[in-house]
Symmetry: none
């Protein structure tokens, strides 16, 4: 069963307005086992609206529209939906009287423009709206259902939960969806695709989506089944194969981000950390201290942005900076060692690189970064080249450093 | 001229994900005088996508899709758009070679799955993507235009502004919209509303929108007119009144964020900066070093997360931490002085606070933060209480510190 959500209203197509009704409906439908295939926001225009309804009814079993049911000339949802279904509208006398009674209750006479709110699509059922004027509508068309709901969230949400959701659940036949998110760092989307496509493409349930962000790839495995347990079992059938193909690479399957995972590992082992950052300029420290309780594992960080600071604060020999360059394997190692020594922590991390946009050269291009980890067992340095500009390079450098730390703490083979 | 925006990606139809690309495009098109009639978010499904493209091409003169241009099997936008136009795809050898060269530049072999990113719709023109792998496409079909853009905002936005917007403007002609964004720090949305509503509500062109984020308020003044000059003139009529009502408070009217503005002031005056951060954990350093060329004004930062680090690194007396507490006016001042002294810079900044969720008490609640600035003329400390939880408190603290720096550098009265 597949749904489509249509949000009606020109005001939703102006800047800085986002459509919260559609996000709410997407979430509630997914929980009920109904995937939303498309979400549409349409202006108050009869032709556009009719076309949007027609397209949605071609693609989906369940079409839910919000908004455009009021009394004004801009409120065209009823008419457009009826036209898309090639049906007429009938004025419901019961609704009309209830509308008049509502106005009377608030001591006002009902203006004639309000009458059209009592129009119901032929063959449709009105859904009561005790919190506002316009009722909703439930219209069946063969196996498909078209549902019209009012726009104000305070009216839409209770109407959806009381009158729509129970009927949708019944139709969905108890099918539920579940999603597993597997997160990996320091891998590219195409690397992951290359390794996993032969496996996951043999599955249609779960479906797999690959999502890449700087320094991170997420796999979203979504399965349906008659029960949550059955859906999770289907996910596991694929997930176990993925784990085998990417041994040690998946850092989280419970929603946690990499800084949380690394922080937890440090805490469990009682290890303290000191950072020496150059090109990342404090971003690694900021990401680690975003974890509540970070003081349990992070002692301090040195953002040594100038060469003088590298020498004065971390004891990186000025001669080494002069001979190898500030962006070099030697300086990264000396930064990690210097931070660990100065702070007296178990582990030191050093990051130095060329974030850009300036400062690159043919031998040392923008994006070149050295990351060093120093600990009781000695030090390791990784050389990376991060594409995509300053912001992405900095973010990727922090991901790579965290992944090196994670692998070191778990005793997994280094990258 | 009417546009429709299609955002492609199943992940956009899962809860808690909103489609920022579509909002951005809606705003930019509106500025160019092109109204967006509908906005569609579609799952990675060949049939759904083709139908969405077909519907959009029926309704709009300009159809812009984002996402689904990558190398994976989920990336179906090219194929679906071609099918909706009933056209084929040709593999562009020039693009293919550029892709391979890009991979080679980063020291990697290109996996064959990447090849399809070189496919261009028959009759279409590829739009270069120096920031990523997948190029965009501009495809004319009679009077209509179909445009495909990559999904990552860092690739999509520059491609849209460089290659799409100028051509769209040429096609649009006529009325234009212009927006002025006035930014303020360390003020609340309701403060700004309270002071400005009596003025801006008397204007209908420009319209005013107030947007609050942690530690920042933006005013968006949007006017329309027959020419850019006419629209800007209308904006200025309101903007000058706003400046009079908020003297010294507007830090930017040209899109720049607060770290850029403060960095520029430091650079102009040839002043160097050292930071000592506790609760913000490197976030202020990270925000300042996000500015290209930050090495011209930021010498170093000390993230002294433990009390031991405050004493060892910054020379904050252990007795002062014991008597006043780590989160106190005295310690903030000693941190700023210590950072300035250790680094030998013109200015030192110290931040100490309780970011939460734990660590608060009745006398020192979560959100309590002291920010100190130390310079040649002495030091100043500001006491703040930031609501809204850890992440918001940390962000607000960096905004408050930057605003203190800005006012100090400009000689504006302190807050």
């Amino acid at each position: 069963m597949r749904a489509e959500v249509i949000a009606v209203g020109s005001e939703l197509l102006t800047p800085l307005r986002s459509d919260t009704n559609a996000l709410y409906l997407t979430e509630k439908l997914l929980e009920a086992g109904v995937a939303v295939g498309a979400r549409v926001t349409v202006a108050d225009d009869a032709g556009l609206l009719e076309s949007a309804f027609r397209g949605a009814l071609l693609r989906a079993d369940l079409v839910i529209a919000t908004g455009g049911l009021g009394p004004t000339q801009d409120d065209l949802t009823r008419e457009a939906a009826a036209a898309a279904l090639r049906r007429g509208l009938r004025r419901d006398q019961g609704i009309l009287e209830a509308l008049r009674a509502r106005f009377a209750r608030f001591g006002r006479a009902m203006a004639p423009v309000n009458d059209k709110q009592a129009d119901v699509i032929d063959g449709g059922v009105a859904l009561p709206n005790p919190r506002g004027t316009a009722p909703g509508q439930w219209v069946e068309d063969g196996a498909r259902v078209l549902i019209l709901l009012p726009g104000p969230p305070s009216e839409m949400k209770p109407m959806f939960e009381e009158h729509v959701l129970p009927r949708v659940r019944e139709r969905a036949g108890g099918t539920v969806l579940r999603t597993l998110v597997m997160k990996m760092a320091s891998l590219s989307e195409s690397d992951v695709e290359q390794r996993l496509a032969p496996l996951y493409t043999t599955f249609t349930n779960p479906r797999t989506t690959i999502l890449g962000t700087p320094g991170q790839v997420e796999l979203h495995l979504t399965a349906e089944g008659p029960s949550p347990e059955a859906a999770l079992e289907r996910i596991e059938a694929l997930a176990s194969g993925i784990r085998d193909l990417l041994p040690g690479r998946i850092y989280s399957e419970d929603g946690r981000e990499l800084p949380d995972v690394v922080g937890e590992l440090l805490r469990q082992r009682g290890l303290s950390l000191a950072l020496a950052e150059s090109c990342t300029g404090g971003l690694l420290a900021a990401r680690l201290t975003d974890v509540p309780g970070a003081s349990a594992f992070l002692d301090r960080a040195y953002v040594t942005y100038s060469n003088r600071a590298k020498t004065e604060v971390l004891g990186v020999p000025a001669s080494l900076v002069a001979s190898s360059g500030a962006v070099s394997e030697d300086v990264a190692r000396a930064m990690a060692e210097g931070a660990r020594r100065a702070a007296g922590t178990a582990i030191g991390v050093g990051i130095t690189g060329i974030a850009g946009p300036d400062g690159g050269s043919p031998e040392k291009p923008v994006g070149l970064t050295f990351i060093a980890i120093d600990g009781a067992a000695g030090s390791r340095v990784r050389r990376c080249l991060f594409p995509g500009g300053r912001e992405r390079a900095r973010l990727q450098a922090t991901q790579a450093a965290l992944e090196m730390l994670r692998r070191g703490l778990l005793g997994v083979e280094p990258l």
